[in-house]
């Protein structure tokens, strides 16, 4: 018992000693921060990205990050700034959204660069929900040899409800062309009233299912999808569509979009299995 307590204490100290907040100025006046969980050097660093408008504190990613660190992986948990200085809270749907997919991709690139600058030559990108889409968008536009693998959990496209995506895109493009800076309120992902600049909204709306599937198929690295068959956020037939492009995918039975409850462990287990398998494959 005493030995167990000692190990636990050492473990806590070890975690505390290997966790730090990292901050970078993404744009002028817009600093962003990330939690850097230091693991074993021998293992790849994991960049774990939260979902739509969330932060690194979101339970799904926070739990997963702790689990990965416990498993010896260095984990960087950034919080996308969404053009908010030092954002620390989930951003409300109705807030002024002045960010775009491009801004998000740029920030992901900054964090990948930060990892690399800190000696991590083997990086695995792990995303949850919309974060999986943003990582996919990053990988599709910024192929990087240091990125060794990609795990997308609960991967979804930029959902816009029942509105015609093409009409919306056309409307947004027209506004942008007309330099109308009026905020646009549109259903996006789980937000019913997503308020954004036309450019920002357009950058997300463009990522529909076909583009996503295309990006998946064209991934320059190993990929793994972990999807819950009880995910209510997913569009009908989305899982089949994913299976159709033959991207490795693990279906967590009963898992919801957030992989909460007992499915947190499923998510962690499948992530670790993929990482171990990927690490073993790399070693061979």
């Amino acid at each position: 018992m005493r030995l167990y307590l000692l190990c636990l204490l050492m473990s806590v100290f070890s975690v505390a000693a290997h966790a730090t907040i990292v901050q970078q100025e993404m744009r002028p006046g817009i600093p962003a921060n990330a939690e850097y969980l230091i693991g074993q050097r021998s293992k790849p660093a994991v960049l774990l990205l939260h979902g739509f408008l969330q932060t690194r504190e979101f339970p799904t990613v926070a739990t997963l990050g702790r689990g990965l660190q416990d498993a010896g992986y260095t984990v960087l948990l950034p919080t996308l700034s969404l053009n908010i200085p030092n954002r620390m809270q989930s951003l409300a749907c109705e807030a002024v959204h002045k960010h775009s997919m491009d801004d998000d991709v740029a920030e992901i690139g900054r964090w990948v660069g930060w990892l690399k600058s800190h000696g991590h030559r083997s990086i695995v990108l792990v995303g949850h929900s919309f974060g999986s889409l943003q990582l996919l968008a990053y990988l599709s536009t910024h192929p990087d040899p240091a990125i060794k693998a990609y795990i997308g959990a609960s991967l979804v496209e930029a959902q816009i409800s029942t509105t015609s995506r093409q009409a919306l895109i056309a409307q947004l493009e027209a506004q942008i062309q007309n330099k109308q800076r009026t905020l646009v309120t549109q259903s996006l992902s789980f937000c019913r009233k997503y308020t954004s600049t036309p450019e920002g909204l357009l950058s997300y709306v463009r990522w529909d299912q076909p583009r996503l599937l295309t990006a998946l198929k064209q991934l320059p690295t190993h990929a793994q999808l972990i999807m819950g068959d009880a995910d209510g956020m997913l569009g009908q037939g989305w899982l089949k569509a994913l299976q159709h492009i033959q991207v490795p995918m693990v279906i967590v039975h009963g898992g919801s979009h957030f992989m909460d409850g007992e499915h947190e462990f499923d998510l962690l287990d499948h992530t670790l299995k993929f990482l171990e398998a990927h690490q073993q494959g790399s070693a061979r």
Partner: protein, 755 residues
């Protein structure tokens, strides 16, 4: 302070109830006072609670504002606006409210650059300062007055990092202070309408000083008001109940206690005044057992008392009657006389009328009494009273004043009627039979009448005295025994029983020397030589000489014969002792027949007899009075004769039983009364009778003295009849001893001169 003698039970009840009401009023007042104190305390507590809750509300509001400011300062979107203010107005006017950062549009927020400049102009209606006030150091709160609206500002810094190392700008919250303060549901004690905060124009009041400037009133506490209302109603109800109970108690008390007690008291008062309630036994039974017992006891006591009272009344009537009735005669006594006379005099003042006062006196009653005994004397008085009562009018009352003296007063009468009644009295008495009692002497009464006319009632008080005078006038020898004051007492009124003479007599009896003896010579016949002197008494009173006919009636009426005779004997003794009379000259002394039986008189006579050797002494027994104790008088006279007194029968021919006296008493000398002597001057049968009687007396061996000889004719007649001595104004008038002595001295001087 003077306490009332007694207070009634009703007053006690009233006092008790009044006291009870006063006590309850005091208690009520005390309760009301305590209630007011409690109310005041509650009000104070309310005020304190209002102050406390206002303080809490203000602190809550400030804390809430602080919290809002903190939330805003830590809000990502706030920082976003300070960096990318493109959509600041959306954030300011919509976003902060939709997100719940600010509760309502009463609260406004604005962001300022680190330099304190407003990020973007505010709408006119919600204008916030374009610059942060230079004199504040956020975080800070203050209040200002803006066009009559009290506004609370709270400025706060916004940092880019959690460590507050990099200032990103400022935020400022503006809210309408009063609505924000008063809309709090926690205000239960403070009157929201009364909350005031007065700020001077341009004044900036730090929030820390807010409480001291806030004016307010506490809300009236409904519980306190209800408590007051309930207590007031309770006190009022209690007071009304107490009043009703007091009234009811008073009524019950009055019916159960006061009325019965008053009835008992009235019955007792009635009993005390001798008014016995005839309905006492039928009076209603009392509900209080003790009072009922008292009532019954009182009833029984009243019965006994009524019987006793009846008995006492009967006895009282008897006593009253006895007290006013003469036991012997059955007529009214002196007390009744005095009461009736007083009452009658008072009545006369209202009904003036002629009044006659009749005084009756039995003639020679003492003699009758002494002669025949008291029993017969009493019987005589009874017969006299019966006769007088019969003679009086129906409504006239007869009073026995004492002894043999009776009186009556006649109302509505005249002098003639009074005399008529008096005559009727005498007639009835004369018709009365006394022989059955063995009394052979005539029994008569003398009646004195005094009359007062209706217009002279101021002299009513003099009637008894006037009747007394008239009565003694009536007693004078030769009178008809009825005398009316004023008619029959002209002379007597000046002499008889006048207070002056009476006073003189009594003084003379008490003071030796006031009786002065005058001596009238008695001459021997023939030759008319002075043989002896008759000592005649006078009273010297204030240089006046009161004659015997003025005071002797008083002596007789007052039964002063013995005392007067004793004084006379003393004065004669003194005169003889002075030896102013020549030796051999005798002295005769008048003596009342009643005095002979007095031992003191006899003793004095024996003492006086020592002068017999120088002056032969003779006692003249007056014959006008009745000698009742004949044997005793004879014994004394015999005794006196042994010491050489000669006994003379005075006024012979005017009194009672002269022959019997001559027979029974040792008489040496008989003095013919002037009425007999005057007969000798007439040439008729009476003169012959008197002359024959004188010769017969002389033949029987009596020495005769003719009194009252005032003419030579009578003197010659007397001499012719062989009467031994003569006395009268013709020969000599009575004169003082000094004159007698002087005359003898003159005679001696003449003899000596002749010699």
């Amino acid at each position: 302070m003077k306490w009332p003698d007694a207070i009634s039970i009703k007053q006690i009840a009233l006092a008790f109830i009044t006291g009870l009401l006063v006590l309850m009023s005091l208690i009520g007042g005390f309760a009301a006072y305590q209630t007011r104190e409690v109310t005041r305390s509650l009000e104070q507590h309310n005020q304190n609670a209002a102050a406390s809750e206002l303080t809490s509300a203000i602190q809550r509001l400030l804390r809430q504002t602080d919290d809002q400011a903190a939330n805003l300062a830590g809000w990502d979107e706030t920082r976003q606006q300070l960096v990318l203010p493109e959509y600041y107005s959306y954030w300011r006017d919509q976003r902060v409210y939709e997100s719940g950062m600010l509760p309502s549009h009463f609260v406004r927020v604005a962001l300022y650059t680190p330099a304190g400049l407003l990020l973007a102009p505010s709408p006119a209606k919600n204008s916030l300062p374009a610059r942060l006030p230079a004199d504040i150091s956020p975080p800070s709160s203050w209040l200002v007055d803006e066009a009559g609206t009290t506004v609370l500002y709270h400025a706060f810094p916004v940092y880019i990092d959690e460590r507050h190392q990099t200032l990103l700008g400022y935020g400022m919250i503006r809210l309408d202070f009063m609505p924000s303060l008063l809309q709090q549901e926690a205000l239960h004690f403070a009157d929201k309408a009364s909350v005031r905060l007065t700020l001077k124009p341009g004044e900036k009041l730090p929030a820390s000083q807010l409480l001291s400037r806030l004016a307010f009133h506490a809300l009236p506490d409904p519980d306190r008001l209800r408590f007051q209302s309930i207590l007031s109603r309770t006190l009022l109800a209690l007071f009304v109940l107490l009043m009703a109970m007091s009234l009811l108690g008073f009524v019950v008390y009055n019916r159960l206690l006061v009325r019965p007690l008053r009835r008992l008291s009235q019955d007792i008062d009635a009993m005390q005044h001798g008014r016995f309630s005839p309905h006492f036994s039928r009076s209603q039974a009392m509900r209080i057992s003790e009072l009922e017992n008292v009532r019954r006891s009182l009833y029984e006591y009243q019965l006994q008392l009524r019987e006793l009272h009846g008995s006492l009344e009967h006895q009282n009537r008897e006593f009253h009657s006895q007290a006013r009735q003469d036991a012997l005669t059955g007529c009214h006594n002196r007390r009744a006389y005095e009461e009736d006379w007083e009452k009658f005099r008072i009545e006369l003042k209202n009904a003036p009328q002629g009044v006659a006062f009749l005084l009756f006196d039995c003639d020679r009653f003492k003699t009758i009494n002494d002669t025949y005994g008291h029993a017969k004397g009493d019987r005589v008085l009874s017969i006299i009273a019966d006769a007088l009562v019969m003679a009086l009018r129906a409504n006239d009352r007869l009073y026995r004043l004492g002894g043999d003296e009776f009186a009556t007063f006649l109302s509505r009468t005249t002098p003639a009627q009074a005399k008529q009644i008096a005559q009727r009295c005498q007639s009835l008495l004369d018709a009365s039979v006394f022989s059955d009692l063995g009394i052979n002497e005539p029994v008569g009464i003398s009646i004195g009448i005094a009359f007062c006319a209706a217009d002279q009632l101021e002299h009513i008080n003099d009637l008894p005295k006037q009747a007394d005078i008239a009565m003694y006038t009536a007693k004078q020898p030769g009178r008809t025994r009825i005398a009316l004051y004023g008619e029959d007492t002209e002379r007597a009124s000046q002499t008889l029983v006048a207070s002056r003479e009476t006073s003189a007599l009594f003084q003379a009896l008490a003071s030796p020397g006031m009786i002065e003896m005058h001596y009238q010579s008695i001459h021997a016949l023939p030759g008319r030589k002075v043989d002896y002197y008759e000592a005649l008494a006078r009273i010297r009173y204030r240089n006046d000489l009161i004659m015997p006919d003025a005071f002797l009636p008083v002596v007789s009426s007052r039964r002063l014969e013995a005392g007067f005779d004793l004084a006379v004997l003393n004065q004669v003794d003194a005169d003889l002792s002075s030896q102013q009379l020549p030796p051999g000259i005798g002295v005769s002394i008048n003596l009342s027949a009643q005095s002979i039986s007095h031992p003191e008189i006899v003793s004095q006579l024996l003492e006086l007899s020592r002068h017999n050797a120088r002056h032969p002494l003779m006692l003249e027994i007056t014959e006008t009075s009745l000698i009742t104790q004949m044997a005793e008088v004879r014994t004394y006279l015999d005794l006196l004769r042994t010491v050489n007194y000669r006994i003379a029968m005075d006024d012979f021919g005017t009194g009672y039983s002269p022959l019997r006296y001559l027979v029974d008493l040792p008489v040496d000398v008989v003095k013919f009364d002037i009425s007999l002597v005057n007969k000798l001057g007439e040439d008729n049968r009476a003169s012959q009778v008197v002359a024959d009687f004188a010769r017969m007396m002389s033949d029987a061996g009596y020495s005769l003295v003719a009194e009252g000889v005032e003419t030579d004719t009578i003197l010659h007649k007397v001499e012719s009849l062989g009467i031994a001595h003569v006395q009268g104004y013709l020969l000599s008038r009575p004169m003082p001893l000094a004159e007698v002595a002087a005359r003898f001295d003159d005679q001696n001087a003449g003899v000596n001169c002749a010699v």
